[in-house]
Symmetry: C2
Subunit: 339 residues, 2 copies
């Protein structure tokens, strides 16, 4: 399977390294030969027909330089449009204004016949129904398990682990940064500002954590889960969003406050007071989702949120899923031809 990595930050670099480390395992266990044939940062794409081993390109990035400083590159969109790969992995940073340039990367990859894996929430939060239709009309696959809880497989849990059961609703903590800040404030009496500073110092919060703290990041993940679980056609504007910017309510010692994204009665992200005994009361950067399942009652999935390595791990799950989907398509087509 020929892979192109678009975006060469913490996720892209970790993914390149992980594909290299796991190549032997994947070949043995899944019959899947992985080969990275292009990597792109904002300066352009490096393409090598025979595959790019991570040391070649990582060395340059670790020296703080762009790919164009050491390699012959061409503009990102030109490389994508050539349709050189079986799957283009979009892992540039998210923006929730117009989701560019990631949205164009994804659409052009599909138009050139490549399947897509995205860890970038922006395009999915704003245009998921359009993207999935574009893929479906071409018989291509778009996978995105890294967009929601890279470290915790919420997407495949809802999809594969609960297949045959009916999810009625779900709610949970979908952002680790805001959960870290809330835990500090409630459990340790920090000020919001001090908690944010500490999160930045520990590398938990980005330089600008606005979308983590105001609920937008949680809302983006809520949209993706809603569309995935209920095969619905929500976008970010359908979610009522508030975050921790208006202050955190006081609670007694048996309760706590969490930033909760809920699917019902209408899609919403807001601060909620919950019991300390609630399984959603997870501290630090943990994410947690409660699925209410018709046959099973409440089921909880808890784990780490995003991080370069964790999100790269999610892409590895998507690569196996992609292989399985393509294989079923292939056998089915061969069968139809044989009729």
């Amino acid at each position: 399977m020929r892979i192109g990595i678009v975006g060469y930050g913490s996720v892209g670099k970790a993914l390149h390294q992980l594909i290299y480390e796991k190549a032997w395992d994947f070949k043995n266990k899944y019959g899947l030969v992985l080969q990275v044939v292009f990597v792109c940062d904002s300066s352009g794409c490096v393409y090598k027909e025979s595959g790019i081993s991570p040391p070649e390109t990582l060395k340059v990035k670790e020296a703080g330089k762009s790919l164009s400083s050491n390699f012959r590159v061409e503009p990102v969109i030109d490389t994508i449009k050539k349709g050189l790969v079986d799957v283009a992995v979009e892992c540039t940073p998210a923006n929730f204004v117009d989701a560019e340039p990631a949205y164009t990367h994804i659409i052009e990859a599909l138009r050139s016949g490549s399947n897509v894996i995205t860890t970038n929430k922006g395009p999915m939060a704003l245009y998921m129904p359009t993207i999935l239709e574009e893929a479906e009309s071409r018989g291509l696959v778009v996978l995105y398990s890294g967009t929601v809880g890279g470290g915790t497989p919420f997407i495949y849990f809802a999809d594969n682990a609960l297949r045959g059961n009916k999810i009625i609703s779900f709610r949970g903590i979908l952002n680790g940064t805001s959960n870290f800040v809330l835990s500090k404030v409630i459990n340790e009496g920090s000020s919001i500002e001090a908690a944010i500073s500490e999160a930045k110092r520990l590398g938990i919060a980005e330089a600008d954590p606005t979308s983590d703290l105001n609920g937008t990041d949680s809302a983006a993940k809520l949209v993706i889960l809603l569309n995935h679980v209920f095969e619905d056609k929500y976008t970010l504007k359908d979610v009522e969003i508030s975050g921790i910017e208006n202050g955190i309510p006081n609670v007694d010692s048996s309760h706590t406050v969490k930033l909760i994204a809920s699917s019902t009665p209408k899609p919403k992200v807001s601060l909620e007071v919950i019991s300390k005994n609630d399984p959603l009361n997870v501290d630090g950067t943990y994410n947690a989702v409660e699925f209410n399942v018709e046959e099973l009652g409440n089921v909880y999935l808890i784990g780490k949120g995003a991080g370069g390595k964790e999100t790269a791990g999610a892409v590895m799950r998507d690569l196996v899923e992609l292989k399985n989907r393509l294989q079923v398509q292939y056998f089915r087509k061969s069968y139809m031809r044989a009729l």
Copy 2:
């Protein structure tokens, strides 16, 4: 898909009802036509070529009578041996001594060409490697997601949701009855005896909860998860087992005691002191498993344990999985023939 239900207690009855309620959904959503053509209790099997609707047989059981009192029955093993169904669902009660008659039911179903779904832990705890080999040698499928956490899809989580990632180890609470008793004793200061009585009164503990309390039930589930996750060949005798029968250690207010099944360093079930902040600190009848995943760190799955309806829900997941497996086999075979 023609189904036979072997064992008509709380799981078998709930399953029959659920298949009936979900028939339309399953046809639409999964292209799966479900038809129960035989049901068996200990008095024998009722077979009806055109399908048995639940009211016919449930009415008799609700009146406290055996199937043979109202229907013409034949011995269970005779019906199984006829190979009348695509899948035989084994849901008789578990025993951990010789796992009979369930083990014979499963082996004979496979020998007669039926796939098997079992919610009965006994045969899997004692003979899982043998059963899976018998199935594989015949190109048949054995599924068992109801044996471990019927209400919480541990099996499919480990399998499908984490596919592409590597599980290094796991540990957790796999028995709701003992967890209920421990929670009562530690949190409310009950005596063990009083807690057991209350569990019986609430229908949480069976009349004889010995295997729940002495760790055998947890160990059986540990064996099944071990074989499933690591494709290993463990049986119950490989597990070091102790339960709550030797008393429960005292702990300070920031700790608690749980009956934990661990995969490593060697398979073991024992009381462990854990921090109250540990995500495994779930109360009541909840089950919880911590998976340590190479790419993701710790991921926790929490939900209800067994119960008639929940375990029947697990069988519904298995039916969809079975259909998918058979379909891939079918397309693959057609493809091979067309070559």
